[in-house]
């Protein structure tokens, strides 16, 4: 940041005396700056700022979504109360959606980040031939329509599909399987019956046993699908980051006697930290908003194990005529995303400079 400051200081006086060709003299660079950034600012205002304010406003009213929102009643924080505190379906649904999406993020973000980084390092090898081909093929899933990719995966994962044909186990029911992955693992190591306290106690209408279920097998299939799709995009970002590292740095490390792994661990990774931070942030934000794949595979089923906040927003707004409730979910989702992003930022910062 400090490197930028002199540039700005230098630029400011110039702007003060900026002369337009026709002889018009502009006083103060700030109005000119506003003028130039107006198109972008107006765009932000109309398509981002106002919708955010409107969503927050709608969430405090009782709006079905079928009449003008200006004719609705103000209900304060009732919708938030329904989602967070009042016993009922809506709180349970919201809690389940948070649980499902949390496990989804927990799996997808590390998988896609790690694999994308590894792929980028491999593709950055100057002795690799046919780079263009690999780059294109890894990037290809990212630019394909998510619905098209999802439908192909539905075929691959169905009971008589290709995945089951390849895997050497007995036939697995992937997409219509509500069993939690962690429950399955516990079952394998012999814990079939949950401890009584985990079944009898609950938080937000969901028992502790259900909270620790892990992603359902159906959700796990979606996790694999999304990881596969998004690796390409992040690989490209990592590749750009890797290519901005000057060769001389690596050479210097070699001269100092560092092995390839040491160079990677102590030179490349620290230098890539800003890029990793960026990829993680984008990854967390986008995974908390997963919708297309959910909609196209199971529409939230089986047994609600693939409902996510974004899916609930759609469902409540357009299928259940509860637009205000949907708006409240959207606001809560924003809070969740902010909490996760800031936590992640904190964690990365604490391990060194970004």
């Amino acid at each position: 940041m400090t490197a930028d400051t002199p540039l700005i200081v230098e630029a400011a006086p110039r702007a003060e005396t900026f002369t337009v060709k026709r002889g018009m003299r502009l006083k103060g660079g700030s109005s000119l700056g506003w003028l130039f950034s107006a198109p972008a600012l107006i765009g932000l205002l109309v398509f981002v700022a106002i919708p955010i304010v409107a969503t927050a406003w709608v969430s405090l009213r009782d709006w079905s979504g079928l009449v003008s929102p200006f004719e609705t009643e103000y209900v304060g924080f009732e919708k938030y109360n329904e989602l967070l505190f009042a016993d009922g379906v809506r709180r349970t649904d919201f809690a389940l959606s948070i649980r499902n999406n949390f496990y989804y993020v927990l799996f997808v973000v590390p998988i896609q980040t790690t694999l994308a980084f590894v792929l980028a390092v491999i593709l950055n090898n100057k002795f690799l031939k046919g780079k263009g081909f690999f780059r294109t093929s890894y990037y290809f899933p990212s630019i394909t329509s998510s619905i098209a990719v999802t439908l192909i995966f539905v075929f691959l994962f169905q009971t008589s599909g290709a995945i089951n044909a390849i895997l050497p186990f007995e036939t697995i029911n992937w997409l219509d399987n509500a069993n939690g992955l962690f429950h399955n693992v516990l079952g394998v190591i012999g814990i079939e019956d949950p401890p009584v306290w985990m079944v009898e106690n609950e938080f937000m209408g969901v028992t502790f046993w259900q909270w620790i279920a892990g992603p359902s097998v159906a959700m796990f299939a979606i996790i694999l699908l999304v990881s596969w799709t998004s690796i390409g995009t992040f690989m490209l970002i990592f590749l750009a980051g890797l290519q901005s590292i000057p060769e001389s740095v690596e050479e210097a490390a070699k001269v100092d006697g560092a092995s390839t792994f040491q160079t990677f661990r102590h030179v490349i990774v620290p230098l890539m930290k800003p890029t990793i931070f960026f990829v993680l942030t984008i990854g967390i934000i986008s995974t908390w908003q997963v919708f297309d794949q959910i909609y196209a595979t199971n529409f939230g089923g089986p047994q609600k194990t693939t409902i996510t906040p974004a899916f609930l927003i759609y469902f409540q707004s357009f299928r259940n005529s509860q637009a205000s409730l949907a708006a409240a979910i959207a606001v809560l989702l924003l809070v969740v995303i902010m909490v996760f992003t800031f936590t992640q930022r904190r964690l990365i910062k604490s391990t060194g400079d970004v």
Binding site: A49, V67, P69, F70, E71, D93, D176, P302
Partner: protein
Amino acid sequence: MRYRTFVVLVLLMALIAACGDGGGADTTTAGGAETTTGDTGAATTVAGAATTMAPEEGGSLEGVELSLWGWSSSDAENTALNDLVAQFSEETGAVATFQPQAEYDVALQAALTSGDPPDVFYVDSLRLPDLADAGALAPVPDGAVSNPDDIFPSLREAFTWDGTWYCPPKDFSTLGLIYDPDVLEAAGVAVPTTWEELAAAAETLTTGDAAAIAGGTAQAGLSMGVEYARWGAFLFQNGAAITNEENTAMTLDTPEAREALEYVAGLYQDGYAVKPAAVDAGWAGEAFGQGKAAMVVEGNWLPPAMTADFPDRNFAVAELPSGPVGPGTFAFTVCYGVAADAANPEASWALVDALTNEEGSLAWTEAFTVMPAREAAATEWTSTHPDLEAFVAGADYAQRWGFVPGFGDVLGVLNPGLEGVVDGNMTIDQVIADTTAAGEGVLGG
């Protein structure tokens, strides 16, 4: 300083936007009904306006533009509806157009919210309470729909909310038992007419487990979606239902309902019924078409799907088996609603009547497998569709597919619960308890 200017600007813009929209809303309120007083107020105003409007004949609709929104089921249906609408335009001089919408719910919601709804639009019976409750629909004015007593009472009931009738049905479908007569004959199974016979037939016709059926090497006796839209028919057959008739109290926690749920769940647990997803089918009709099931519980939409996707598949339709108490099925229906804010209510109702009177409903349904909602027309329809007669028979005892606003939450508990019962990780008692609790929250009981 700059930051503050920006914030001020944002707020200013928001304010301008809010005022602008508010002004727009005011003008529509002035032009239309008084809406701030609530639904009843709005309803009476519109009804009042309607009674003063005398049905005029002839070219009084000259040049009136009318938009009709719906969803598109097939090109053939679009063409048929376009023809009917064109005929109406020709006869009256109005300029009416059918505009099918992709993502219908979203498009309609946006149009209603912005205060510029289409004049006439499809309303599913499930959505009617939401729309009526929100004051988005105009009630049927006296005399606007010709010979209303001819419409099947159960279907009029489906579009009646809080004692007000909102719209005449466009057509309807019921659930029936669709089976492959060749397969049944080969197995020596008669078409089941009771629960015992259905269970026995399903058992005899099942030739393997779900994995084998999915792989195409075996067949299930019955395939049926695990949801209230199918299982509900079995509740009716045992004199039960999810709510009482007035939709004011939950009635799922009764011995009759429990018995019906246990019967249906038992078919799945014994392996004689499979859910479509378990055998790699998107819906039961697909499982039937692929030969993965010998019988399915589906409605009038199945025959065209077979013609389109599985033209070689032989099928026949029977009424659903009767339960211990009697027959029972669902009627799924869609009506032509007129927007409360319609620019020209008179012309809109004229269009609705043209599409739903005896002549119109017969012209609309005769080329298709959906049934006219009028008794006289239905009798005539049966003569051109003798193979689908069982669907019409269901109209006599069919119950409506519609609840109260917000009931989607309750079905959202019941349907996954039923899946849980079929998958073996929930008990019927749990499902009944959870659903009843959820329903009481919504019904306020």
